[in-house]
């Protein structure tokens, strides 16, 4: 195809949506596919709620798609200038949430007139944008220890704030995002290894040494939940009851699922079948087939994200894509791993599938940013090509 032919095709599309010609259709389709899977699963998992969850989740997804379109339209590089504002906003939101009324013992939500906002969710994307910007600023000094320390510190401050809400899962996401951004940014393996060892040391201190000395950093239920997957129990009173029921749900789904006979999901044996354990609900209702479809869609998104990471027109884009990759991977593996008994129980939503406005909108924003990186990369490549031709 010649350039004029491309231009001709491009000119057929309305001016406003011309940028979409350069988006990544596979990424967009797999994201929308996951939303579809979410709506189907939510409808099946809540037999007594009518279309309540479906309508709301659909609305959140629509809001998310609009946000993604807006972000895809702009050049993400401009966000680099707002790094302090973005970081400050993240810290601010996660601070004021601590003053909000507690829901089930947690302070994670800011109640607004029509809906609630979960700052820790928005914190993920804000952290990615600001951390990527800070590291880009020091791109010539990535080998320095001070860079590594600063970036990790900037990631750990919000992680600690989120842990206080308490939202252990999201603080893990923050820490991993910081680590992966450093990894993609080119930090030396020596320093990364040191970070990993420090992390292991911290875990050991929190779980073993501190309790032995009488200090309890985590509350008992958190420890049980984190280690419970290693020894699932049948005692309904114990912390591992949820894992046990989740395993029964997923396992009983078999190859093709139990459909409307999914008793674990529909009769409440599965806790949180719309949010934390939505994958178990899906596994029980639609079986291995359903689980495999959803996992394939995630694999597709991860693959496209890795690809976008490599084609980004600048380091900032690469780092953003790296952060988003970390965010998505941690969420998918920890959430799915939890429901199938190979990862600790942490309240992490499954991106785009778990019911919840903040999570869906934030994930869609992430997809929009990836599209923006993709579009900018394609645009840059196209203009480079034009320059070469002319």
């Amino acid at each position: 195809m010649t350039v004029t032919a491309i231009q001709a095709v491009e000119e057929q599309a309305p001016e406003r949506f011309r940028f979409l010609r350069r988006c990544d259709p596979l990424l967009a389709l797999s994201a929308l596919g996951l939303v579809g899977c979410s709506l189907i699963t939510l409808r099946a998992a809540t037999p007594n709620s009518g279309n309540y969850y479906v309508e709301r989740q659909g609305l959140y997804a629509a809001i998310g798609v609009v946000a993604a379109l807006v972000l895809a339209r702009i050049d993400y590089t401009r966000l680099r200038e707002y790094k302090y504002g973005l970081y400050g906003l993240m810290i601010f939101l996660n601070l004021i949430v601590l003053g909000m009324p507690a829901v089930n013992g947690s302070r994670r939500w800011i109640p607004l007139p029509l809906f609630q906002v979960q700052p820790s969710e928005f914190g993920k994307i804000l952290l990615i944008l600001s951390l990527a910007a800070f590291l880009t600023d020091r791109s010539r000094r990535t080998h320095e220890r001070s860079t590594t320390a600063r970036i990790m510190l900037l990631a750990l401050i919000p992680a600690l704030l989120v842990m206080a809400q308490p939202d252990l899962g999201t603080s893990i996401v923050f820490a991993v995002v910081g680590f992966v951004i450093l990894f993609v940014g080119g930090t030396s393996f020596k320093q990364l290894l040191a970070l990993a060892l420090l992390a292991l040391l911290a875990i050991a201190v929190v779980l073993i040494v501190a309790p032995a000395l009488g200090m309890h950093v985590l509350s008992g239920y958190q420890v049980q939940r984190l280690t419970g997957f290693l020894h699932p129990s049948q005692n309904p009173q114990s912390a591992t009851w949820n894992i046990h029921q989740s395993l029964i749900a997923v396992g009983s789904g078999g190859r093709a699922g139990r459909g409307i006979h999914a008793t674990q999901t529909r009769l409440g044996y599965l806790s949180a079948p719309t949010t934390d354990f939505v994958f178990a609900a899906l596994g029980e209702t639609y079986g291995f087939v359903g689980g495999a479809i959803v996992l394939s869609l995630y694999a597709l998104i991860i693959w496209r994200t890795l690809r976008i990471l490599t084609i980004a027109k600048n380091l900032y884009g690469t780092l953003i894509a790296g952060g988003i990759l970390a965010m998505l991977m941690v969420q998918v593996f920890v959430n799915v791993g939890m429901t199938i008994g190979i990862a600790p129980i942490t309240g992490i939503p499954l991106p785009l599938v778990s019911y919840g406005g903040s999570s869906v909108v934030v994930t869609m924003i992430a997809v929009g940013l990836l599209q923006s990186i993709h579009i900018q990369a394609r645009t840059a490549a196209a203009s480079k090509a034009r320059q070469l031709i002319s």
Binding site: N48, F183, A249, V250, L267, A292, G341
Partner: protein, 668 residues
Amino acid sequence: MLTPQLARRVTVLGTFALALFAIIFFRLWFLQVLSGQRYLAQASQNGSVREIAVAAPRGDVLDSRGNLLVDNTRALDVQLSPPSLPKSASARAAEYRRLAHVLGISMRARGCRVYDATTKRTVREHLATIPCDIAQQRAQIPYANVTIKTNVSRDTQFYILERLNLFPGVQVQQVYERSYPLGPLAAQLFGTVGRITRPELRDPRYGGASPNDVVGQSGLEWYYNHYLQGQDGNQRVLVDAAGNFQRYLRGTPPTPGHTLRLSLDMNLQRVGQTALQQSIDTNAPGQGGAFVAMNPQNGQIYAMGSLPTYNPNVFTRPIPTSQFDAEFGASHHYPLLDRAIQSPGPTGSTFKPITATAALQSGRWGLNETYDDTGKFCQGTLCRHNAGGVANGVLNIVQAIRVSDDIFFYNLGALLNSQAPHGGPLQHWAHRYGIGRPTGIDLGGELPGTLPTPAWRAERNKLEYECDHATGPYKGKPKHAPGGCGIADGTNRPWSSGDNVNLAVGQGDVQVTPLQLAVAYSAIANGGTIVRPHVGSAIESANGTVVQRIDPPPLRHLHINPVYLAAIREGLHEAAQSPGGTSDAVFGNFPEKVYGKTGTAQYNGQHDYAWYVCFVPAWATKKPILVAVHVEQGGFGAVGAAPVAREILSQWFFGHSGKYVPGTSQTL
């Protein structure tokens, strides 16, 4: 911007992601495809279906004409299912408070006796009404629902059902309650129903009953429980993990119990009870009595009453102990007692045909033998006389029965005496007639009475001695003066001829129920067959077809020489319907051929107890009937009891009772 370094790192990231995806895929494959069946079984075990028992209505009870005697009314009970109550004590207490408020139950704590099954002891706790009910009923049957209040209104039902989240574990259950449209007629026969008890659950009679079942516990309800009970159905309900209702599944509708048709004729029953009441009213200090009307050929009971009676409908609701004691205790002469089968006593002269049978069959007396009644019968220094001191002169056995001559039968008693442990021919024949053993009627609670023998007396003497001296089974109990325990007179007197003389005329230690006497006389009427009396006549399905006829075979045949039997009957007929007969004043002008015998039992310190037995046999009528009447402290048999029998026979043969005419005979 793809530097070699970045390319390497992206490869690492991609490989890492691929590995994680592979792990998840294989784990999912393992769980769902390889272990799916195992987890499916566990999911099914999670018990998401609850079964709610739907009580089956018990079968109706009808009389022989189809009159409804016992049926059901529906009621709503508030029940608690203990396993579904909140776990925390404070939440439970709050629920009890709400429930008490709605149901109008006091929350004030009071003394509460609770049986502790583990320590096997009753402990007294201080509990409010609802926790007390729960503790008491759970001690009875651990897994059953606890009834908190019976017969609540529809409004209460809706109030609770609409607020089930406030009342976890509370059910408003439709139950059936027995009702008795005819009130006090034959009240003692039907018996009671109630929640099955712990021992009953192990009773094979209630095989297959569940802890929430209501079963028959006495009377006909108990005997025919198997048929009346029906099969409880269930409503299957899908619930979630928290036990909240989701939707109804297909359940099993309850199968109502079968209908029990009785051989009772309620018109006859009504006439019998009215006449007996008249006798009690006119023969002071009469206070209670009983009658039995039956078919002497096959044992079908046509009417069977006991006075005083009561209205069984009062027991549909729990009644306070004070009210129970007031209305069903000694001051009201124990109306719950079925005197026809539960109040044995000496029969007086009605025993004489049994003595006559024994004397003739044993050869100790001949049909043509006579005895000269000089007005007294002496054994050693003790002399006995006829009632009123009369002397009837020379009598054969037929004549002796007609005039109920005591001296004649004293003599037979002395002739038939034996010191063998089980007595002589008199005890042998009395035992064969059924004295001292249950008749086997289809009601619970029948008492066997007593047939005195030398062995029986020795046993009583031994027990009295042990009781007086606090030895043997009475070890550790207080001692008594000789005879102080009331088991025997304390003289340690062995069996003597005098005991047999007493027995020969139905006095002394012999104890017989009206029904036992009726069965014995039936044998005389039907030629020697001991029938098994029965109130039930058929089990019918709800649409009226007969499922099973109740026709129990006779217990035994006595093989009495027909000549002897004819003689005894002749005496009985003359007693009832010939000049000089003891009840001729009552039955002399009765249009049917009546065979009857009076009896007047003497009690120390009490007025005489009146007895009368009569029958119109199968060779004299197409509707053979036998009537036995017993009036406590009713005076002479012909005065207190025979007129009641005549009223019953009038109703039976002519469909109306006659004018109540007390008899005049002063003979025992």
